[in-house]
């Protein structure tokens, strides 16, 4: 019984994998990236394919923007509707939906912050799973600033009070922008840590602890950065 169980497992897995990479047209196995080797038909991007895989990159956070862009352009040409005008309706549909996925993938991975948010979601399932304790001090600060902002909005901009509030808000904005940059520098360090850990590819318990540390700190920093970013934008828009 035990024997049977253990021998059947890898088999099932291989079958599943094969089923997923079977050509929709000629049913032969697809080994290439986006085309069937046998009938040369375009293959749809599977729903389970993450954006990193879609663009042919490993799950790293310090991707070379030029290489990413080059790959995006290459695949954009590959799926361009112009090349499918004489093809079947199926192929036209596939290439069009591939192009859409590709666009979203590139837009997500292009910006380092969004890329990290996306990786977190992939690695932790749902981002909410590692929802952190809210930074009470930062929240107090944001809400207090909000009061000052309200006061400024209600004040006569040309009065002494208006000038005073404006310069207070300006100082706050500069301080928050500095903090945002500090957070981004810390994030950069975590990105490097993550890539290093992935490159090492160890499956030790120590590596797992390190992985959790990086993801947790990244989650915290990304959240706090969002809060700070929002209030900075609000400040900028109000005193502009």
């Amino acid at each position: 019984m035990d024997n049977h169980q253990s021998s059947s497992h890898p088999d099932t897995r291989r079958q599943l994998q094969m089923a997923r990479s079977m050509c929709w047209h000629c049913q032969s196995e697809v080994t290439g990236e986006y085309f069937c080797d046998r009938c040369v038909k375009v293959q749809p991007v599977s729903k389970e394919t993450d954006y990193f895989t879609c663009l042919g990159f490993p799950r790293r956070l310090m991707l070379d923007p030029q290489k990413l862009e080059a790959k995006f352009y290459e695949l954009s040409r590959t799926f361009h509707p112009d090349f499918y005008q004489t093809k079947s309706a199926d192929e036209q549909t596939i290439s069009l939906s591939n192009a859409a996925v590709l666009n979203t993938a590139y837009r997500t991975l292009r910006a380092p912050i969004q890329r990290a948010e996306y990786l977190l979601a992939l690695e932790t399932g749902s981002v909410k799973d590692i929802r952190t304790s809210p930074p009470a001090d930062l929240f107090e600060e944001i809400l207090e600033l909000q009061d000052t902002l309200e006061e400024y909005r209600a004040s006569d901009r040309d009065s002494d009070q208006g000038h005073r509030l404006r310069s207070t808000l300006q100082t706050e904005q500069e301080a928050l922008e500095r903090r945002k940059h500090e957070m981004e520098a810390q994030l950069q360090q975590l990105f490097a840590d993550w890539d290093k850990l992935q490159d090492a590819g160890e499956a030790t318990s120590l590596a797992r602890v390190e992985r959790d540390r990086i993801l947790k700190q990244m989650r915290d920093l990304l959240s706090n950065r969002t809060y700070v970013n929002n209030i900075v934008n609000d400040l900028a828009a109000t005193i502009a």
């Binding site: 981002v127 929802r131 107090e140 809400l143 990304l222 969002t226 929002n230």
Partner: protein, 132 residues
Amino acid sequence: MAYSDKVVDHFNNPRNMGSFKKDDADVGTGMVGAPECGDVMKLQIKVQNDTIVDAKFKTFGCGSAIASSSLATEWLKGKTIEEAQKIKNTDIVQELNLPPVKIHCSVLAEDAIKAALADYQKKTDGQPTGTK
């Protein structure tokens, strides 16, 4: 998607905006945030003899988040701690007619209520309830 009349009403005339001293023994403070959108919400309750006699909030976020927390403070007043525990985000969604994309605002409000209650209970822990 347009905001419902109730959301607009709460947004234009927020009830119970403000704050209590968070170190007061009869005050419970809940501070929560939604990292996805950057909304921040502070909700406070003032409790006497196991009953919430007053509630205040401050929210930095969209109209739905402000309306959700404003409504929450309205509902909290006069409720016992036990009754307050039962307020669900779905009640808020229904009352304010929130669209699916704004449901997380009601979740934030429920989290804020829970956090405020927990904070108050932590303060009074070990003391018989109803002490002055």
